[in-house]
């Protein structure tokens, strides 16, 4: 009786190290492993599917070509998410500059395109309350929305979010705090 080996569970960190050593299969595995996460996050920053797809392509091409000069990373997912964000923000900014070359840009709004429509509030019974919530969430600042996404959906730590969003951990925490507060107020949990 031959005892089968345990099937291998993909380990991002190990794959990353192998990739840095020039293992192209590890690169392929990393790509497949992180693609859904990166794509979903990218789509929170930009609505343009092709832009998100191309950005992910560019990032993996970059890390492969520069693998000799890239160091170890603490968190592969945080590194890649940050890269997606940087890339997309850059693309969106240059697109805006091209479109509104003569206009002065507001600093905050030029950073990322808001995409709060995808924040679905599931309250269940109360349709009126739901509509109210949705309406309010349309106005949720994009960075708050983004931090909430990384926190709730990707379950990242404030430290990781801070690295990705280039803010301090405290600011990342504040974003989540404020987003949660808005939600709570809307859900009518002010009274105990």
């Amino acid at each position: 009786m031959i005892k089968p080996e345990q099937p291998k569970i993909p380990d991002g960190q190990k794959l990353w190290d192998k990739m840095l050593d020039g293992d192209d299969q590890a690169l392929a595995s990393l790509f497949s492993l992180y693609y859904p996460m990166l794509y979903n996050y990218g789509m929170k920053i930009s609505y343009q599917q092709d832009l998100v797809k191309d950005s992910i392509q560019d990032i993996f091409a970059y890390i492969w070509e520069k693998r000799r000069s890239i160091s170890q990373v603490n968190s592969v997912s945080a590194y890649l998410l940050a890269a997606v964000r940087r890339k997309l923000v850059k693309s969106i900014e240059s697109e805006r500059k091209r479109q509104y070359a003569t206009q002065e840009l507001e600093k905050e709004s030029s950073q990322i395109v808001s995409s709060t429509e995808d924040l679905i509030i599931e309250t269940g019974e109360n349709a009126e309350q739901e509509a109210k919530l949705n309406n309010a969430l349309q106005k949720l600042p994009s960075r708050m929305h983004e931090a909430l996404y990384l926190k709730k959906y990707e379950a990242l730590s404030y430290k990781e979010i801070s690295k990705i969003m280039k803010v301090s951990p405290q600011v990342a925490r504040n974003y989540v705090f404020e987003a949660v507060q808005r939600l709570r107020l809307l859900l009518g949990t002010t009274t105990i």
């Binding site: 031959i2 949660v180 709570r184 105990i192």
Partner: protein, 365 residues
Amino acid sequence: MNTKYEELLTDESFQRWLSHTASAQEYKKWATWLKADSSHQAIFEKAELVWESIQFSTDPIPDIELELSRLQDRLNLKTQKRITMKSYFSKKGIAQLSANFSNVWHKGGAWPRYTALATAMFIVLLTWRFLPLLTNPGDQAVQTISTQFGERERIILADGTKIILNANSRFQFQKVVESSGAFQVELLGEAYFDVTPGGKDFQQPRFLIETADGIVQVIGTKFTVHYRGEGTTVVVEQGSVRILVSGSHKNPGEVENNAVVLSQGNLLKFNKGDKILNPKMTNVAVHTSWWTEQLIFDNTPISIIVKRLEETYNVNIEMQNPQLLQQCISGSIENGDLQIIIIALAKIMQCTIQKQNDTIVFIKN
């Protein structure tokens, strides 16, 4: 008091507790907290409501495999799939195959690509051969055509008849039947025939294909014959053929009792000496797709597919759980090379693959 929710909900440990990812220690801590004050239950419930209300829609993910090959193209990491080189399946080949398989993991994502070398080893080689000499079957040089594992031979006869001899098969010209001018050939293995109509008045058989189980008489038609020692299977794609089952009568001219005509869409499996012949209607493509670009399955048991792969590629394939063999699958798989087929099959069956000695083992996830 109002900030209580925000404080709780921004606490990472509390978040983990709500998301059921807390450690045992954290779990204990929050359970204690819950009981510590009678108001905590209500706070918890409302905090949970807020937390659960945060739902993000996710976009449909693009085809990851396609995206990966885009990347590999760009970085010149793409494997060359269609290398035609004459190499059969050695133990070294299997070792290389398994080396690649060991890097294959399966957890919802796409499959990593494979290297060019192993791919080339397991490709089915298709060669062409033109046989104008068939009109002279006495010529020793062309009397027998045989294929190795992983080799397929396409034979084109002077009258336009095409024969595709599958891997590990032998095709032998026996004689010209004097009365009709038909060619009698013996088949061991598997072959697909596309016979140009002809013969005397288009009525006489042009071909007589003989296996140990009997004779297939052909006028002009497309069909496939499979014989590897456990009965002969004939499937007719177009036209009709007549089967003469071997038994007490060896001479096709005398046989009437155990003969049957198969028409388009019919399948007959028969053994030497069979008295009762039951042609069935079948999905012809399932039986003729072995030489095309797509292998086609239609509620086909895994056991049949495994057998076919073993016959074609000289590999041993086992299921860790033999019940898997009874499963049936429908659909098509690119008929490129063994590795592509095995990986696709594993994906469909939700199995991982391991190589144990010279055997490829499928293990249910």
